[in-house]
């Protein structure tokens, strides 16, 4: 058994941060003279207590983490905040059961956006802000993890995105730190820009801030039951549309842009594919809306493009209830759920780059059939893709499919119908938010599901958010052996 103290210390630190953030909604509630501020303060106190105990009690000499410790830290670093972030939901006026509270908090932190709450407009502003904050924090957490942690751990082909070390160890650290701060800075800046744009487009200040946070994190929590349809403004839809697409882009590119390396950012193959797939889907759904629903071309484009971007990036904001759509757009949305955004973005899903790797490899396969002895290597951004990376990606994809199938079967075993089980599993693992069908579709909530189903879905969200293997590796017996 390895030393878990440094891991628990990190978890403690994260909990202290979480406790600190809880004071923000507490302040908002206190200003709005809502008695709920007490709930946030007491939740914050409880979280801080545990966090400090872990942080101070587990102090050890500062040493770099071993691989196993890193895995455990990455997993617990997500699971523990999910548990404590649920406290305000359980104690507050929302009065959720602990399963519901955990579901809501997990859905927030993993930037999924599935909700069990109905009647959002009547909830105190503190709680609504808390949901937005959770998504925003989760979004930044996943970006940092995708840029700094996952590539080092070799998870599912992410090793292709290792930040190149120029030379020597001493120069690498400042560069990594600079990349980290740039990306966090960009994230904050984008959120502020979005909030101002939304405010300028006619949203209230509070709504603008919450929506900006949940948009850039591709989360999907809104302040209204009807989501964006409540505002019914094409300008707002357009701003959020752009925000979601930016949220699904590789944030590492913003670093290149910031350092003046425009060409590298624009020539990125992953970005091109991402926008290409998005465009194709949007055009198809728009045409369907014009043809089958008799929409005006511009209205069709507005709703079609928005819905496709929202589902593909895993956001889950809605301008139009698409649960009564049939046939082609349903298939497109269902398939795009799996595609997801780019590596190092806040979006989840399988991610565009994995499809690119596999596609490149399949192309090479076909050519190889005709010339069995030729040497051909698949490439990505003009770099050859090593064998191990392909194996990792394929392993990832297989486990993804397996997890999806198992989750869908388990949900159906609990009594959900075909559509709800299938789309619920897909939407949880890909961190989208709403599913298809009457119950969990864009018009419904997850509240009517049995508690066991909610816990399974929450587990699926964490699993998908942590790129499966970070969590899965903990279940390998040899992980815990020396």
């Amino acid at each position: 058994m390895f030393d878990v103290r440094p891991v628990l210390q990190i978890v403690g630190l994260l909990l202290c941060l979480l406790a600190g953030t809880m004071l923000v909604p507490a302040a908002v509630d206190a200003l709005a003279r809502d008695p709920e501020w007490l709930v946030f303060v007491s939740s914050s106190g409880a979280t801080l207590l545990v966090g400090l105990a872990l942080w101070l009690g587990m102090r050890t000499d500062v040493r770099p983490l071993s691989i196993r410790q890193a895995y455990l830290a990455a997993s617990l670093g997500w699971i523990a905040p999910c548990i404590f972030a649920g406290l305000p939901f359980a104690f507050g006026p929302a009065n959720l059961s602990w399963a519901d509270a955990f579901f809501e908090a997990t859905s927030g932190i993993t930037t999924t956006g599935s909700t069990v709450l109905a009647g959002l407009d009547r909830l105190p502003p503190g709680l609504l802000l808390w949901r937005g904050l959770l998504q925003w924090l989760g979004g930044i957490g996943i970006i940092v993890m995708a840029v700094a942690v996952l590539p080092v751990l070799n998870i599912g082909g992410m090793q292709m995105f290792r930040i190149e070390v120029v030379s020597g160890n001493d120069r690498a650290t400042p560069r990594a730190a600079r990349i980290g701060t740039t990306i966090v800075g960009v994230y904050v800046l984008l959120t502020v820009l979005l909030a101002f744009a939304l405010w300028g487009a006619g949203m209230g200040r509070f709504d603008a801030i919450v929506h900006a946070m949940s948009t850039i994190a591709t989360g999907g929590f809104s302040t209204n039951d009807t989501s964006l349809a409540f505002f019914d403004s094409a300008t707002i839809d357009l701003i959020v549309f752009i925000g979601m697409i930016v949220g699904g882009m590789p944030f590492l590119l913003f670093f290149h842009v910031a350092t003046g390396n425009w060409r590298r950012a624009l020539g990125d193959e992953q970005l091109r594919w991402y926008l290409g797939i998005l465009g194709l889907g949007a055009v198809a759904v728009t045409l369907w809306l014009i043809n089958s629903r008799g929409f005006e071309p511009l209205t069709a484009l507005r709703h079609g493009a928005f819905t496709v971007a929202s589902v593909m990036t895993g956001t889950g904001l809605v301008t139009l209830d698409y649960s009564d759509w049939t046939g082609m757009p349903v298939a497109i949305l269902f398939l795009l759920t799996f595609v997801g955004g780019c590596a190092g973005s806040t979006a989840a899903g399988i991610k565009v780059f994995r499809f690119q790797f596999l596609f490149a490899n399949a192309l090479v396969q076909v050519r190889q059939l005709l010339r069995p002895h030729a040497v051909m290597v698949p490439t990505f951004n003009a770099k050859p893709i090593p064998k191990e990376v392909l194996t990792s990606v394929m392993g990832f994809l297989f486990v993804y499919a397996l997890a999806f199938a198992t989750l869908a079967m388990a949900l159906a075993l609990l009594g959900l119908d075909f559509m709800t089980a299938l789309s619920g599993a897909a939407s949880a693992i890909s961190n989208v938010g709403p599913g298809l069908g009457d119950t969990i579709g864009p018009g419904g909530t997850f509240a009517p599901l049995p508690d066991a189903a909610k816990l399974l879905l929450a587990a699926g969200m964490l699993f998908g958010r942590l790129e499966l293997f970070t969590l899965l590796v903990l279940f390998v017996p040899s992980f815990w052996k020396q």
Binding site: A331, L358, A362, V364, Q365, M394, L397, L402, A421
Partner: protein, 483 residues
């Protein structure tokens, strides 16, 4: 440009075989005094005439030799030609079937899929029913011979693993391959006979027994009744069919010499073990569901669960009861099972067990690598190391498989099908299963109401799935046709 003459020549021979096969239903119709015999004779004459013309026009001088490219072209075109002419009896007959429907039916037969556009089977002339079964049976022989003799040489989707041991030495290839192929056809024939006799003893009429035996061993799924196997309310018949479907989905080479080196080769083969374990697990699971949730009698639950699980996994497509009414959980299970498929070198379609084994091992290796980044791990199959090239082609295959499934599912929704019909229709076509889910194409429905375009798409997808994708896809690459 490559020389297509040998390809046409072999196709001609195959058409002559098909024409001869049409004589059988003609004979049956004559005996049962049905006027349909004329249909078969006409079709046989047309087919035979074209076949003869193709053969004579391109007769090669000396021995026939095929290059890799010609072999690719041959495998794909053979299925196309056979289906095109196998459709003639359907469209000439008094059933009033359009050529599109006829082609769909013939392709579904030859690829051993079992999707049908015909209804009212119980009152149909015997000749047509027999013809459907014969198409299955011929398609079944074709695919095993292809899986044993051709696919390993073409290195399709990891099949190079199943190359005959001696094929590295060129001069020994031919006799050994043809010997094995001959043995396999014998085994196939004997098993069909056994199945037929058992079904007859269990209470089917001789005609029904023959048709079902042919459709079972080829894991096809055409029945002689609209109710499929559910027409016979006999557990004995269901179990006979279950066992022979399971055999049809197993590796046929293993039956040639089941007893090797003092051991049952069948029981030591890891693929067979996974296959049987898999069938057992899901049969048990669904039997439990039926017993606990739907209050079915325990014995009946086991019979129906085992029958339908085996039917879907081996991609046969018989139904002993309408399992789409069992509820949400069985629906999801059946949808997922569609992709699994049988063993390599069997008549079953799907991704195939061995590829799942490789994928599973690959995920395991990735997991171990995460903990030991510098460790070296290898993937074993049947106690034999799998080379990187094989892993690579398996990987490519699975990716293209799901890509094809998704693309066709999407296009099908554009022809106006609803979501469930399109997705499950695409899944069953590429895996050669037969029925999908939903009201239209579920176990109780048929493919008649689909638009013509959807039928052509599904027929094309069936060939793609049957020929392990790359055999067909390679024809679309530009470099195939160049020099």
């Amino acid at each position: 440009m490559l020389d297509v003459r040998p390809v046409i020549f072999v196709n001609g021979i195959l058409l002559l075989v098909l024409a001869a096969a049409m004589g059988v239903p003609a004979l049956v119709d004559v005996i049962s005094d049905d006027r349909d015999w004329q249909v078969f004779v006409t079709s046989a004459v047309v087919t035979g005439f074209v076949g003869l013309g193709m053969m004579l026009g391109t007769r090669p001088e000396g021995r026939l030799e095929l290059s890799t490219r010609q072999a690719f072209l041959l495998t794909s075109s053979a299925w196309g030609f056979m289906a095109a002419f196998g459709a003639l009896p359907f469209s000439f007959s008094a059933l009033g079937v359009s050529y599109t429907d006829g082609f769909f039916e013939a392709m579904s037969g030859l690829t051993t899929t079992g999707s049908t556009i015909l209804a009212g089977l119980d009152t149909m002339p015997h000749g047509i029913l027999l013809w459907r079964a014969i198409l299955h049976w011929l398609g079944g022989v074709g695919i095993i011979v292809m899986a044993v003799a051709i696919l390993p040489i073409l290195r399709i989707g990891g099949m190079q693993l199943f190359k005959m041991e001696s094929s590295d030495k060129t001069e020994k290839v031919k006799p050994r391959t043809s010997q094995v192929a001959g043995g396999i056809v014998m085994v196939y024939l004997v098993l069909t006979l056994m199945c037929g006799v058992l079904l007859w003893l269990a209470g089917m009429t001789p005609f029904e027994a023959v048709c079902h035996a042919m459709a079972t061993l080829s894991t096809g799924g055409f029945s002689t009744s609209d109710g499929s196997a559910g027409h016979w309310d006999s557990a004995l018949i269901h179990w006979i069919l279950t066992i022979f479907m399971a055999i049809g989905g197993a590796t046929f080479v293993l039956f040639i010499a089941p007893w090797k080196r003092g051991r049952w080769a069948i029981l030591t083969d890891t693929q067979i073990r996974w296959y049987l374990g898999f069938l057992g697990f899901f049969s048990f699971l669904l039997a439990m569901w039926q017993w606990v949730v739907n209050d079915m009698d325990a014995g009946q639950a086991l019979t129906h669960a085992a029958f339908n699980v085996v039917s879907v996994v081996t991609t046969t497509g018989f139904a002993s009861t309408d399992y789409s009414l069992w509820g949400g959980f069985p629906q999801i299970v059946f949808f997922i099972l569609t992709f699994i498929g049988g063993c390599t070198g069997s008549t079953a379609g799907g991704v195939k067990i061995f590829r799942w084994q490789v994928l599973f091992a690959m995920a395991g290796v990735h997991l171990k690598k995460l903990l030991h980044p510098h460790g070296v791990f290898v993937i074993d199959f049947n106690r034999q190391r799998i080379s990187d090239a094989v892993v690579d082609s398996v990987l490519g295959f699975v990716v293209v498989y799901f890509l094809t499934f998704a693309v066709f599912g999407l296009i099908l929704t554009m022809t106006g099908l609803d979501f469930v019909t399109a997705i499950t229709g695409s899944a069953q076509a590429i895996s050669n299963v037969g029925p999908g889910l939903g009201d239209v194409i579920g176990p109780a429905g048929n493919y008649k109401p689909l638009p013509d375009l959807a039928k052509w798409l599904l027929a094309f997808e069936m060939v793609l799935g049957r020929l392990e994708l790359f055999t067909v896809i390679v024809l679309f690459s530009r470099s195939f046709w160049r020099g």
